[in-house]
Symmetry: D2
Subunit: 342 residues, 4 copies
């Protein structure tokens, strides 16, 4: 079988990681990436010797790229023309505009969480509703928090049945290197319920969800606490047993040295993971407590990279590469090395 | 009736505020404060013209105070001798040692949250278990988070009955001006359950409580989210109605400008409150959401000053100044100006 | 002599402090303050019982104020009409527009550092060029960093003569309570030379100045290091002797407990200063070092309040209240309690 | 020629990077690393499949390693026995104790900046005093700030002659993932002069240096501003010309996107550098300004990795691998890929 050809629109925080993720899939081929300006990420691409071909979106000034010696392989539409599917990680709102080109060229696309749901046919999560994405033309991925949250809730739900969740999202407010947004010595409230709880209900309509989100001035990973009500009483041991089987959930303890979100970042750097990224969410075994009949636990969401595996799942679904949910996610996990730590 | 004479041991973040709080009570007299070294707070006391007399605890080097012209009124035991009751806000563990002196001089005392429960006869909260403190010799106050949390839970409990709470504490890691502790670009987990949940159960044994605590690198106020299960279904409106009656809960909205913990700090400064302190907890009306039969909401805890009112309540209880719970807290509220904003 | 009547445009971080500063001057009268919307600061004004009358600028929606019971005393032009001089602390750029009204009503005005120099006849600093402001209609104050910096450089210059300074500004990026700007785990460079060095040369044209500014994610006070070349060799002791005479420079040491910018904030809170403000800059005696023939030292700039004294000086100059520089600043210092700590 | 055999004591932030650095040198062989406990870094080593052999220092509890399946290759003394030279990055003070073992086994060693100078025969910097290290048994590297600072000062000194420098160090207070130290919303002063200025004078005794250090609550890179007095007037262009020739100085601009220390971290991650590390210091071309006859500029110091190249230089010197300074540093640069970006 020939490899599925993939392009990436927007070579920023997410786009770079999508490109790297595709390049690691043995059954996919990264055709190229598209962007607007010679950002630091594009300059780094050049310094690395252009492992990925670069195409310019409409509005880009090619002379800016020429001035610093960055080779350009063509236009955005030329890239679209060469691929089977586009991964769109443009800034919020731009994806909807790009969609017109994907439609014009009759190409599939997967949008990231910043776009409105209406941009896509299906709001998608690899583990929770893989089947809905099969053969579809336009998928939208859940956002980073929702992607990680659903991994854990879906895990418990498939094992024991979940009726209701109440979440508290302790959100990192910027990524490392961000200078266009930030918060200094302040916690910031969002109006409740948080969109992540609402999004969870869209993906998993049989679960009632609500939540409160608080922004915090850090850059390495969100932490979410979850209070979940099972269809049956879920004990701490039952929850732990389920989480330990999941290839995208890394169960850790504080005693091992995982003291918080920054420990995961350090650990991923020490592992030699490119960019110090981690695809899996972290789950603290020593955070799991029973609250009457409910179960409560805390997870860590590596916001820059957590959606990459589910996006690879999305390619598998949209392009009919695999119709079995578990086989599809296992294929992604194999290529990304997920679950190897166990 | 003559005024109750009060002394304060430890003129740090809490001790200063205890002294100020006592000085505002029309039925109490602040005799003096005791400390060990000419800290910035003691230097500020001197620059203000010594509104409070200073006594030196054992181990203090009087020559250090003489060198910078800070007048000393006597020894710690001399202070104890002059008072009816001591408020002990010494560093954790020192209070237990100080207790020997209080016992020797046959004086009552109230310890702050840093001491072990065993230091006291009663673990005390003005609103939740005032009656238990009446006439007792040694009380221990709940810590800042627990004090604020219990205000809100007790408020709902007395209105509608509460069975169970699951809390997420987003903890500020240091006070403004702290250089001896800190956290930089990291969230830090504590092992669950948090002590605040355990402490709540000690004060309110009819409620089941658990929780997870995450430290965040900010200095202005903890934020706690609470998922509470009522004996009956508590709607958002019912919760709001109850909270609005409470003189130590300030109900606000994000739209008014209360965007997070730092907004409360700014507002208290703008109010002209000494030190920019706030005695009341904040409660976001637009954080209240129903989670199935449970109710969820978020509160702000001004960690430096929140325990002051309940400590004043404790003096009223221990010294038999008032036997009626509601009259006692109302007396404290009157002198501290609490509830006036309504 | 009747009191000079003063109004304040823009009741934000600076405006509130200008109003408080004027209210403390025995020879001035605060007529009122003007603003656009019922911000937290305006709500706090109301909760305090409206110590200052409020006027609404053009574009304000009075119904918003009525809705929350904030009394309004009139329009911006009505305020202008009642005063001798306006202090304009509107957001950057708005002051230039307001000036048209001041001109129309034939009233003097002092603008804060956010406006362009062209808005005013004189770029003003109370200590460095008081004489230039005498009788002028429109003054512009130096910004917070420049105001504090010039205090220290002017102090050395008048004592020993200064030829050249090279400064490094370690800038706090936001004020406590700011949610509209921030920086998270990052230092940020500005292009050199910093505007503060350029501004210093405008005020003190006989000195050559340059500098580099780095933004840091903190809220309590800028720190500036200064490398100054004297007309003669200035020893550490000579510098210290000069600084100790200045009523707007508080000389401290690390050993006393002044460990950094946050220590000043804590100390001012402990002093009971309204809002925890400090008018004086801090200067670390143990930061003064000789660098060959140059002298190097570090100062702390309390950004929210440092320009208040020099603005009061400006009123004295513009309104011909005092023609002697030293008498003028002494008058301001007396009313603000500056130098009392010595 | 057989490869020089190298061991690393202390597999922490620096030790890991030393091991990686040695592994990249074509003329060196990494024999193994030694540590005390199964830290996160050691656990990551295991998860990576033990690319480096692990030895246990005295006091280590082997059963802790066995319990988590980490293979141990022997004792610390067994490691020492197998190598030609040890790189000691143990916690401060431990290196001095380890030295007894190095002496006992008659092996050379290079200590990191945390040790006292007396531990070594020579205080070493690859570019500034390479010749002094040739054939010596015990070298001590300059600390991260001093290493980077000297690169830039030595660069100017060799080109034009430098007489004097005054530095301001804006220090990152912790590394990513550190939970044992931190600072929250505060800048912290050190007493002047900073040790880095003193250390510079030890390495370059013909230059007079002083400086002030301020700690800031960030984790990605120190920024230093330097005011340097040349033997001749050094213009901005002359400084730039010199810096551009240096293989361990990366000259950048704000306009390219290098807005601050976090930009370098992001760029290094985007480059795919292991751990997102950068060996070179950054130098902002648009920070260079002339200050009278002096020159002023700002540099970025990637604290975790900046000393690795100079340590490799140190091995070359101590082990007599190369006697020519420029050939030695060029060899290190070649293996580490330094200067390739030009």
């Amino acid at each position: 079988m020939s490899k599925i050809k993939v392009g990436v629109a927007g070579y920023g925080v997410i786009g770079q990681r999508l490109a790297d993720g595709v390049a690691r899939q043995g059954d996919m081929e990264l055709v190229g990436v598209a962007d607007l300006a010679p950002t630091l990420s594009i300059r780094a691409l050049k310094e690395k010797g252009m492992p990925y071909d670069l195409y310019l979106v409409d509005g880009a000034d090619k002379s800016q790229f020429d001035a610093v010696g960055i080779p350009v392989s063509g236009t955005f539409e030329e890239l679209i023309d060469k691929v089977d599917i586009m991964l769109d990680s443009s800034p919020g709102g731009v994806g909807a505009k790009n969609k017109e080109l994907y439609v014009k060229h009759n190409k599939k696309a997967i949008f990231q969480g910043g776009e409105k749901n209406s941009v896509a046919d299906v709001f998608f999560h690899g583990y929770a509703n893989y089947e809905k994405g099969i053969g579809q033309n336009y998928l939208k991925l859940t956002s980073c928090n929702t992607t990680g949250l659903i991994r854990s809730v879906d895990c418990l739900d498939r094992a024991y049945g979940i009726e209701k969740v109440a979440i508290t999202i302790i959100r990192r407010v910027a990524d490392p290197g961000d200078y266009h947004r930030g918060l200094t010595n302040a916690l910031q409230m969002d109006k409740a319920p948080s969109h992540q709880a609402v999004d969870l209900m869209t993906i998993m309509p049989h679960i009632e969800a609500t939540g409160i989100l608080v922004h915090t001035p850090v850059t390495h990973g969100h932490i979410i606490t979850v209070v979940a009500k099972g269809k049956q009483k879920i004990t701490k041991q039952m929850a732990l047993d389920a989480f330990l089987t999941h290839d995208r959930i890394r169960v850790v303890t504080i005693d091992e040295g995982f003291k918080g979100n920054a420990s995961f970042f350090r650990y991923a750097r020490d592992l030699g993971n490119p960019r110090g990224d981690m695809y899996e969410i972290g789950l603290w075994a020593d955070s799991i407590v029973e609250s009457g009949d409910d179960i409560m636990y805390a997870i860590n969401i590596p916001q820059e990279s957590v959606t990459i595996p589910e996006t690879m799942d999305g390619i598998r679904a949209a392009c009919n590469m695999e119709t079995d949910r578990l086989k599809a996610v296992a294929e992604t996990n194999k290529y990304l090395g997920l679950g190897k730590w166990k």
